[in-house]
Symmetry: C2
Amino acid sequence: MNQSLLKQNKISRVNRASAFMDGKWIIENNLIDCLECFIEPHDKICIEGNNQKQALLLSEALAKVNIEKINNLHVLQSTVLFPAHMLIFENGIANKIDFSYASVYGTRFAELVQEGKLTINGMHTFLELYSRYFIDLTPRVCLISAEKADVEGNLYTGANTEETPTIIEATAFKDGIVIVEAKEIVKKLPRIDIPSDWVDALVLNRNPSPIKALFTRDPAKISNTKILMAMMVIKGIYGKYGVNRLNHGVGYSTCAIELLLPTYAESLGLKGKICEYMVVNPLPTLIPAIEAGFVKHIVSPGGEVGMNEYVKSRPDVFFTGRDGSLRSNRCYAQMAGLYAIDLFAGATLQVDIYGNSTTITSERMPGFGGAPNFGSNANARRHCSESWLLAGRENKNHFNQIPKGKKLVLQIVETFQPFGIPSFVETLDAFDIQKKMNLPLAPIMIYGEDVTHIVTEEGIANLLLCQTAYEREQAIRCVAGLTPVGLKRDKMIIDELREKRIVTYPEDLDILRESATEDLLAAKSIHDLVKMSNGLYDPPAKFLKKVNESTRYKQ
Amino acid sequence: MNQSLLKQNKISRVNRASAFMDGKWIIENNLIDCLECFIEPHDKICIEGNNQKQALLLSEALAKVNIEKINNLHVLQSTVLFPAHMLIFENGIANKIDFSYASVYGTRFAELVQEGKLTINGMHTFLELYSRYFIDLTPRVCLISAEKADVEGNLYTGANTEETPTIIEATAFKDGIVIVEAKEIVKKLPRIDIPSDWVDALVLNRNPSPIKALFTRDPAKISNTKILMAMMVIKGIYGKYGVNRLNHGVGYSTCAIELLLPTYAESLGLKGKICEYMVVNPLPTLIPAIEAGFVKHIVSPGGEVGMNEYVKSRPDVFFTGRDGSLRSNRCYAQMAGLYAIDLFAGATLQVDIYGNSTTITSERMPGFGGAPNFGSNANARRHCSESWLLAGRENKNHFNQIPKGKKLVLQIVETFQPFGIPSFVETLDAFDIQKKMNLPLAPIMIYGEDVTHIVTEEGIANLLLCQTAYEREQAIRCVAGLTPVGLKRDKMIIDELREKRIVTYPEDLDILRESATEDLLAAKSIHDLVKMSNGLYDPPAKFLKKVNESTRYKQ
């Protein structure tokens, strides 16, 4: 067999590193030496960066390698969340990145670009980045995080399996090098998430791992405005279209919907008709709807702090392993979110008069995460559902006249953000950012053509039904309230738009604004959620502190 | 821990079946009894159906279970290829199906629907079907095929791993039952594709497995017409847009392109500029381009007969395991085909005057397979490439005026099919089929809005550049030759369309029709391919037979 250069190169890296290893295990003090053997300049190096699982020990070591030996790395990392990740660039070890979500570090990325220290090769939605791992961004080395490993190197990734299988497959089966940090070595794993066959090297990570409860929203902080919007969404959209397969974002708006399912939605007779199948992390605010038998099936991109024992008690709802604990998979959940749901409900920071929206504003450039994928119409979808067909029948924006279905994409947003910043703008900040950063395209999260409904505390704009660009613009202005965009609405057209059901106000749905109160919430506090989980939900301590003035601000 | 009903139900099924098993292994003579324990009426049952790997022993056994015990099954099966699969429906064991591709059996499906024996729940593109496995089509039981297993039940799925990991994950992690037929039991597997942890039961399959060389095209059968079209595609499209990441269909048209890469494309100076990254099965006709260093990286949805040893020799190009053999993965390859390629080139049977195309005609209803996924624009794509941006800049069909990129989607089709059937029609047969079968939507493979170029032996129609519906229709008529659709073209507008580069004829590209001969093919026969693979490609015997009159027909 004619061994390729790539295979030979892997063998020589592994041979060099073996001096610092005991079998597959890296001797801890030798970690940096070992990385200097495994990695070569200009490598594409994939750093596992999930929401709640980071290859942090390996990242820290990578930031400390000898820059004379290792440099010009091209980092592939879906989520960049920690200072150690930034040090790899600050220290000059890597100078190129492809990513999906960078949280607060997006802004620092922009500065590094200006300083000439970094090239942003691409910003992606998650599934898109994973897809490129199999084409032109195949990792030469990947740095992975696992909960437990056995001596042979089989891995248990548990509740936060997330993107591990996808990264490892792209690396291991292309003669790349798979390096894993594991928090614990055990004799027998509770279950096997990754076979040892796919792993080249492991190191024990004795550091406690920082995890944040990213998806936990306190019901006590949900404002009446959010409750009003949730009522409109449930009655005016979920009920109307019979939305039974969907994804929720992670803001307070969608949590309000979740907490209204066993109360308001049930009172409308919608149980068994909406929200049975969901793509979401195990959100604590879903506990009441699960316990009420309202939500029946959840596939999760990742886990959530404190939800492990509760998830174990409901394997009928969640995907779990033989050991009973959650098996998440970000890739499959994102796939499901593209092709198998009928609705995406998310929030945004800015919407323009065409319905384009983005969370990227002049203050922040976090990246796209999963939103574009969940919130885009899948042109290749061919199976039908009633809600998809109904949205398609309403759609007046067909390019050609062949009937098709359409994914419902909701942007739920209050007319003003906190501190009085209008959510509606004539032109997105994204266009300024494009110019400033010299980007080929404006960083728009969800394109107007994919958005079907905009929901504010004023009402619902149904963009599907708009037959002209003018109607569409006015529909958006009509729900934009007292923002400058809203004040420019054509008052002569409002009645016509309401008549056509393009604009729907609460009264058009027989919803009394004053009925939107916390009495409708199935749980009013984190304590309630714990109780409804039969004590299995174990929230982080900070959520159980007495609510004080500073935290009582309602979202 | 409050065990859910689903988990309890699995335990009771496994307990019942254990009487017929030896540990995890099903005693072969007890297979039918065993299935009657594992399966219950109304189950969703996923039958592994790849192009080249079928759970055939298990399907045959399922067709023979006692209908009093097992009935009303809902089959999930991506590819339906064998009579045994049909027997499950003919015998009344199952009465519902979700599928992607049914080959010749699509027509029988249509009859079974008419007879009231079958409900087609949905037709899908592959990735879409897999996505639903995680939402509303999660299998209760899956029937899987593996090459080898060890005693513990670890699986080697080898070159045709295809969809195994995806199906098993959706089933195993939702307390479903994973049943595997393995062709061989070995002490130590060459590599582990699936850990035993995810497998519930195995049976030895002693039958030889029928495998067809589905993706092998004999260079000797490529006509000069196909060569002419390939020249136009290479110079007029791949070269123009700098297409470096793409998917090819499996017909003679795209094989002609592959065989022209090291010759014609290289003579145009395109090496290193086009076709370096591909999503395709290991097509024998790619051997010359790989050996010439033209094609550098291939991710494969599945394997191909006879290509195993050649693939092993090029791990730098193909994804392979520790043992050196191909690791295919249909799910990841389809993902890459959606989000990470800049061009899809496929063939079709019918195109209408709007550019809608389909292989579903009144004679056949094979299903969609992967084409809609590969051949659709990914609205959520956010990373840029030059070819994608250029296509986007050309695109006059924007819904709103925000610049975006666009995936290039080619339909390469001769104006007439064999036996003189016109490829171009005013109205697709699909609309008749919709009415006849009472389908909610017409079964269209690729929508006109996704198609960017139609290539025939007449020339190229660039649909991106068309500014009006009339221009678009005329562009299509202008390449439709002597078909009735072509004869209706407006002769007054041809020069204008050529001037605008909407229609490009070979002479507009400085391509001499008479230069399109087999002299340009890098390999002229299967023998040539074997030679260029250094004897590693091992084609099925039928391809090595002397070409006789009946097979010399050129495609």
